[in-house]
Structures are given as C-alpha cells and as structure tokens.
C-alpha cells in the first residue's frame, strides 16, 4: 500500500524553496506593481482632463457665446491634435492595463468562496479598517461602462451634428454651436438618462480610484491617509455632481 520512493540526496529532488528564477519577471511594466503605477498615472492624468473638461463644460451656465467661444478656441488651437493623441494614448493604456490586470487578478483567484461575505454598501466587507466598497469591487464594470460612454459621447459630440452659430448673441457666427448641440442632445429623455447613469458610474469609479491611485504610487501615511481618503471621495462626488448638473439643468430647467 505504501509507496516507496528511492531517493538519493544528490541532486536535490524537491524543495519548497526551489526558486524558479527564470520565472521571475524582468520588466517593470509587466510587474504587478508596474501595472498599477501605470494605471494610476494614466487614471490621474485622465482625471485632470476631466477637471479641465468639466470647467469648460460648465461655461454652459454662463451662456452660449462664452461656451461657443471657448470651444472654438479649443478647436482652432494647434495643440488640440497632439493633446487628443496624448489623451487617446492615456485612455488606451489605462483601459488596456485595466483589462490585463483584471484578467491576471481573476486568474489569481480562480475559485470563488462558497460563502462570500455579503455587504454591498457600507464600509468594508471584512470590517474596519477595510476600504473595500461597492466602488472598489466594481472598478472593471464602472470602467467598461465609462469606455462605452466615452465612445458614444465622442460620436455624439465631437463627431455629432455641426450646427453653425447663427445669431451673434450666441458667439461668432459661423463657428460651431456647441451650446445648441449640447442643449439639443440633453433635451432627449433617453440621452439625459444615459448621461445620468454614466456620470454616476464615473463618480463611482473615481470614488475608489482617486485615493487608490495615490496608494498605487506609494503615497500612504498614517497622518494623511484618512484625510486623503475623504478628500478623494469628496472630489469624486463633486465631479459627478458637477457633471450631472449639466444634463439635469438642460433637461429640467433650460427647456
């Protein structure tokens, strides 16, 4: 019944610590740390674009001429194309790494637990001081929704109908009337609802993403982290609320 194995001592046959040295990864960007650094940097850069984009979009509240003037300035700006290419690259890297990272992480935990701890909202599944949240568990989902959103959004706006400005009160006649485009789009119930949904999702992405990015870059300290965590969430809420104000205002107030 008992198996006998004949073992000599040389060469070593088996060891818990036979280090598969060849398997050790060499490239920084392929490492689990490198991937997250890249995601954090691209995520934060894209966040900066969002801030910029938000401020621009908020000119909607000032009036058509200001918004159109601003967007015209953007469109004719010689740096626009390089900036767009940069933005696209950032976005593409973020998305690509997100997917790679997600797949790798899923492979690291192939079998789920029979009994997951169920707590969808509220702080942390495992209790204090966990930071796990609905947002943190659904990053890939919120990310993918954002991806769909961005594609739809760009088709809708950047490559959308090119209304020219007709009345001088709306800006320089002849330039693109973004004000009209935006108000027109958001007047549709479906589009409004789509935006409300997606912008909320983006807020959720940022809820976890902002401080997470700092952590991924190695920023963490007992002194500042609690404040950083709060700030990150506050900013996420502000961002989402500010973005949301646009479709909601157009739909409910403007029209």
């Amino acid at each position: 019944m008992v198996e006998t194995s004949q073992r000599s001592t040389d060469p070593p046959l088996e060891t818990a610590a036979a280090t598969p040295k060849s398997a050790r990864r060499k490239s920084y960007l392929a490492s689990t740390v490198g991937v997250k650094t890249l995601m954090a940097i691209t995520g934060l850069l894209f966040f900066l674009f969002l801030v910029f984009h938000l401020i621009g979009n908020l000119l909607l509240f000032v009036g058509p001429s200001t918004l159109n003037g601003y967007s015209h300035w953007l469109i004719v700006n010689p740096f626009l194309v390089p900036a767009e290419i940069g933005l696209l690259a950032i976005f593409a890297i973020h998305v690509f790494e997100a997917v790679v990272n997600y797949l790798r992480n899923r492979a690291a935990r192939p079998t789920p637990y029979y009994q997951p701890v169920r707590r969808i909202f509220g702080r942390g599944w495992a209790g204090k001081p966990s930071r796990k949240s609905f947002a943190s568990t659904s990053m890939i989902l919120s990310g993918l929704i954002t991806l769909v959103f961005v594609v739809v959004h760009i088709i809708q706006f950047k490559y959308g109908p090119n209304y020219p400005v007709t009345s001088p009160s709306d800006g320089t006649p002849g330039v693109r009337d973004i004000y009209r485009l935006v108000t027109h789009q958001f007047s549709s119930t479906w589009i409004m609802l789509f935006y409300v949904f997606c912008l909320t999702v983006i807020g959720i992405h940022l809820w976890h993403g902002l401080t997470s990015a700092l952590n991924s870059l190695g920023v963490d300290s007992p002194r500042y982290t609690p404040a950083l965590l709060k700030t990150g969430r506050v900013i996420a809420v502000i961002m989402a609320a500010a973005f949301l104000s646009l479709p909601l205002w157009v739909y409910f107030v403007w029209s």
């Binding site: 008992v2 006998t4 818990a16 610590a17 036979a18 280090t19």
Partner: protein, 661 residues
C-alpha cells in the same frame, strides 16, 4: 486518575526488573583543557577542518527548523556544505520556537549592573540545581554574547532605548537585567532571523528544504548515523535520505503529557527512534512545569496557554480555606481565603520559583480546595493591586495578558480573579550528547531542546532560546566539521540494505496502525496517558505513584495496539495516522521517563521526590549519590533499559542547597 480499563496495578516489581545499571565506569567526554574560560577555545583549536572546496561533497541532514535546526542548517550552508533541512510544518518558519515570548539571555552587561559570563554561567548551573556540566554551561554563557550580535545583524528588531541602544530587562527573578526581547515575540523574531538566513542559503543552493516530512527512523551503518527515513506528510511516500552527518534538532517531548504549552506537532518521535537505534537518552525525568497557565476547561482541550510569570509581581494567589467551597470568589470573605504562598513563604510570598509555586498549587487542589469548574485551578487575584495602584496601572502592565485571558476564558480579570494552573512547559532531559553535541552514535548530533546538555534539572527563564542558538550557530558547525574531517565518511547509497530494512519496518508499523481497526482514537489514548503521567510523573513524584505508572503504561500500550482506530489510507495527508505514530512512541517513551524518575530518589530542580525533602517540605538534593547524568541505553520495548552514569564534577563552583523561606 485511574486507568479507564480498570485493571489494577500488579505486584510491585523489584528494582532489577525495572532497569539495569551498567557496571563500567563511563567517561564519555572528550578531555577538556585549562580553566573554564579557555576550554572551548582549546577544544576548537583541536578540531580538524574541512577544506572549502570539499564541503560541497559532504551532505548534512538537519531534522528540525526551530532555532537550533534553522541556525545550524543556515550556518552549515554558509560554509558550503550540502544541507538537507526537514520539518513537519508546511514551512520552516513555523517551528515551535516561534512561540517563545519572554526573551533571550546574554551576558552583555549593557546595563552595567554587574553581569558577566561567569555570573550567567553561575546562575544557570545553580538554577539547574547542579545537575549539568560546568564545561557546557560555561560555554553557553560565553556564546550568549555572540548570539545577540548575530541576531541584530540579521535584523531582529530587539527593543531599544531612546538613544538607539539595545534595551534589557530582568526576567524570572534574576538580579541583573540581561534579557533581550522583541515585544512578547522574541522567539518569533529570533526564529524569523534564522529562517531568513536559511532561506538565503536555499537561494544560494546550499540548503534544500523538505517541509511536511516526519522523520520516522534513523539509519545507522557500521555504527554511524548515515541517514534518515521520513514520511512525506502529503503523499504518504516513505522517503530515504543519506548523509555524512545527521543532526537532530527536533525540540522537546513535553507533549507526552498530552496537555502542555508546546505546539501540537511537537513530539518525542524523532528522538525516541534515534534512541531505539542506540543513542542514549539522558535525564528524561527532568521536565519543567510553569505555574501561570490558563487552566484546563474540559476534556476537549488540546493545549495550554502560558501567561507571563510577571503576573505574580502584582497578583495574589489564594484558594478557599474549606475544601469544596463553591461560592463565587467575590463572595468568599477574606477570612475564608488561604493565601497559601504568602502563608508558607513569608519572605518570597507569591514570587517563589516556578517549581515551588507549581507544586503548592497542585497540593491545594489535591486537598480539594481548587477552584473553577474542574477544581484544578487557583485564583490569581488583582483586586488588592487594583485598589492600591489603580486599574490603569494594571492595564498598562498587563493589558495584553488580561485580553488574552478574556479571549480564552470569557472572563474579565479586572473584575474577577484569574484562574491559573501549572502546565508542562519545557523538558530539560533529551538525547545524551558530549561536549561536541555528538550523541553516543557517531555522526548523530543533537541540538536545542532535543538534547539534555545545559540546563541540568531546571531551566532558567529566557535561556532555552540562548541554548538552541548557541548550539546551532556557534558550536555544531565546528564540531560537525571536526567529525567529517576526522571520520571521513564514505559516500553511501540509499539503496543500502539498512535503508531498505528500515523502510520495511516503517511501513510495517504504518500498516499495523491502520489495520488495528479498534474503537478508540489516538487522542483518547494520548489523553489517558497524559493524565496518568501528570498525576504520577508530574510535579511531585513518589515511589508508589511511579510504580503505579510503570504498571499502567505497558497495559495502555498493549491496549493501544489492540484497540486504536486509524481510518483513512497511508497514501495521502492523514493527520490521524501521523498522530497515532507519535502516540505509539509516547507510550514507549513514557516508561523510560517514569523509570528515570523512579531511579532518582533525590529531589533536584523540577524533579521533586516526596521521599526527599527538607523538614520544610523543600526539594532535598543528595549529591553523594546522584551527582551524575543518567544516560539510558535502549534494550527493547518493555525491556529493562541500561543505565549509564556520567559523573558530574564541580571543579569551579560549589553545589549549595536553595531556600526561599
């Protein structure tokens, strides 16, 4: 505790039936030269060396990865030997040494309070009640200093003073502060230091680790240790490994008592099987009992948890005056309480040494005055200390201990007195070794708690870690080289018939365990053996009790082989099978322990024979008769072992009697 089978002890056997005494004068030590302080240097100078380019050709098996095993394996690896390191746990880092809390002694004299190598040596040999060798103990004190240097260099985060220097504290009633510590996790940190060095050697290719292996036999060829047979605890495969030297660092045998503070995988098997192959076993009766453990709550209990002795600095120990007084502690008025340590030892009170405190606790419980559900506990009351110094003070001193106590018992010790009881904690006995840490089998070296060498009949607090590391880092690497250089072992194949025979025996034993198919679990037998030993070979021993034990153990053993139940198969992870094998060994080993306790009719250190006490009821040594190491030679299971006496001579210190009145 009466045997459950209800068989009465047979007629008392007479002495000759129990053991035999070897008649030759046994002087097994290498001759040591010069004054104590120079002996180790002299000895090292005599040692032969192995050339660096030859070391790789020599294989050393190290069984055990505790402080002793990990440190010797790492050191030999650094020197370039081919080292094979075995342990039961899934990682070398989990060896039992990890659990040591209090600290490690070293004669650094950093606090400038008058410590020295001599003083540490003197305290150790006196603490051991003059039952250890001067030469070994002195070397231990000498090497203690280097251990701290080594550990610090490895990154062991010892406690520091604000100035960045190492901090020390006084431990276990020592008059100097010579204990180094890393919070309450000194053993863990020292072991991680040794483990990390070991893993470094694994990466360097000199050490190969074999976790989840249990050594089941020692291979001797031409009278020398040449290999081991192990069971792979996952696949069940019986594997053979050959080597030039075998090192056992397999820890103590405290678990023979079933309940102890040892880890559940600690065992006597490796040492016992080596003993059966010819290694002498020394002083098996010397077992240490720690007074402040959390008491047993029921039969389900699997191990005991130690609480720091420092609790006795502020707690008062008492039991009710009347036997059977079941009132809750807070309702027992002071006049009905017996603060028995304060009463009997007015000058030391609650701070009497470990063995005295333990014995007295047992005594009051035997009188039926024990407290708690089981009646096997005494109160350690902080009420007065809280009243005197405030709850906050107590919390700052003992907060974590009170928490641990509450976690285990569900009681708040600030409100109600703690219940404590003594527990088996350490075993001073072990395989006999000479000054070079070599056993009576050439090529078999024994290190750490597994050997008997340095603590005599009682070990001082914080000196087990010191001994395990001194053995592993600083003694064995030299003496093993000397053995290899002088004995020049020839390469051997695991196909040698000695291996085949052993594998056959090991398998036969496994199959035997699996095929009994009886009605009782190994745990059940172990528990019964433990109760018996605790009662008769525990804190306080007497002739009748020991003979009773000696009558019961063989019966229990017989019953085990008739009625044990081990389900499952041998070819996968089968903890119960491993465990049954260990219990079978305990059932053999326990007999030797009781014989040793019976033959030593003096009291010394932790070995208290009721027949040998001072008028005040303290341990009475009989130096004329018993100033020797009792080294036992195996003669067969149940057969009379042969006693060899290694005389202990004290050329540098003078044995004195202790008193705590």
């Amino acid at each position: 505790m009466v045997l459950q089978t209800g068989v009465l002890a047979p007629e008392r056997p007479v002495e000759q039936d129990i053991y035999r005494v070897a008649d030759n004068d046994w002087r097994p030590q290498p001759p040591l030269k010069g004054p104590l302080a120079d002996q180790w240097d002299h000895r090292k100078d005599e040692y032969k060396l192995v050339a660096p380019n030859n070391r790789r050709k020599h294989t050393v098996i190290v069984v055990g990865t505790g402080l002793a095993g990990a440190s010797v394996a790492a050191s030999l690896g650094e020197l370039g030997y081919n080292v094979l390191s075995f342990c039961i746990q899934d990682s070398p880092r989990r060896a039992h040494s990890i659990a040591a809390q209090g600290g490690i002694n070293a004669a650094k004299n950093y606090p400038n309070d008058g410590d020295s190598v001599w003083r540490l040596f003197y305290d150790t040999i006196k603490g051991g009640d003059y039952r250890s060798r001067e030469s070994n103990t002195y070397r231990l004190a000498q090497l203690s200093v280097n251990i701290i240097d080594q550990a610090v260099a490895q990154g062991v985060p010892f406690e520091r003073e604000y100035g960045g220097l190492l901090a020390n504290r006084s431990f276990g009633g020592a008059q100097v502060s010579r204990t180094f510590y890393a919070r309450g996790q000194t053993g863990q940190q020292l072991l991680l230091g040794a483990y990390q060095s070991l893993m470094r050697q694994v990466d360097a290719g000199t050490v190969t680790t074999f976790p989840r292996r249990e050594m089941l036999d020692l291979i001797t060829i031409d009278g020398r240790a040449r290999g081991i047979v192990v069971r792979h605890l996952i696949t069940g495969a019986i594997e053979r490994y050959a080597a030039d030297v075998v090192v056992l660092a397999t820890g103590g045998y405290g678990n023979v008592f079933y309940l102890s503070t040892n880890a559940v995988n600690s065992n006597a098997s490796a040492a016992w099987r080596a003993h059966k192959r010819g290694a002498f076993f020394a002083n098996p009766a010397y077992t240490q009992i720690h007074p402040t453990c959390i008491p047993v709550t029921g039969d389900h209990q699997s191990k005991l948890t130690l609480m720091s002795e420092s609790l006795r600095n502020n707690g008062r120990i008492w039991v009710p005056k009347k036997a059977g007084d079941r009132r809750p502690p807070n309702q027992i008025p002071v006049e009905d309480r017996d603060y028995y340590l304060e009463r009997k030892y007015p000058s030391f009170g609650n701070l009497v040494p470990r063995d005295v405190a333990s014995r007295n606790a047992k005594q009051v419980c035997d009188e039926g005055r024990g407290v708690g559900e089981s009646g096997l506990a005494v109160y350690l009351d902080f009420h007065d200390a809280i009243e005197r110094r405030g709850k906050e003070y107590i919390r700052s001193e003992y907060g974590n201990l009170f928490e641990m106590y509450e976690r285990i018992t569900g009681e708040d010790a600030y409100e109600t007195p703690m219940r404590i009881y003594p527990a088996i904690h350490y075993t001073m006995g072990g395989l006999w070794v000479d000054y070079d840490l070599q056993s009576t089998i050439p090529g078999l070296f024994v290190l750490g708690e597994a050997n008997f060498s340095d603590h005599g009949a009682n070990r001082l607090g914080a000196s087990a870690l010191m001994q395990a590391l001194a053995d592993g880092y600083f003694v064995a690497p030299y003496s093993i080289a000397n053995y290899i250089a002088s004995a020049a072992p020839e390469p051997i194949s695991t196909a040698h018939e000695a291996f085949s025979e052993s594998v056959y025996e090991v398998q036969a034993r496994i199959n035997a365990l699996l095929s009994v198919n009886g009605h009782r679990t190994p745990r059940d037998f172990h528990r019964q053996l433990g109760h018996l030993l605790w009662d008769e070979v525990g804190m306080s021993r007497n002739d009748a009790g020991l003979r009773h034990a000696l009558a019961c153990i063989p019966q229990l053993r017989e019953e085990f082989w008739k009625d044990v139940m081990v389900p499952g198969t041998p070819d996968n992870k089968n903890y119960n099978l491993e465990y049954a094998g260990r219990v079978a060994d305990y059932l053999e080993f326990a007999e030797l322990m009781a014989i040793d306790a019976l033959h030593r009719t003096e009291s010394c250190g932790c070995h208290f024979r009721e027949e040998s006490q001072t008028p005040d009821g303290e341990a009475l040594r009989i130096d004329d008769e018993f100033s020797y190491v009792a080294a036992w030679k195996f003669a067969g299971v149940g057969a009379q072992p042969l006693l060899y006496k290694e005389p202990l001579e004290f050329a540098f210190v003078h044995p004195s009697q202790r008193s705590y009145k």
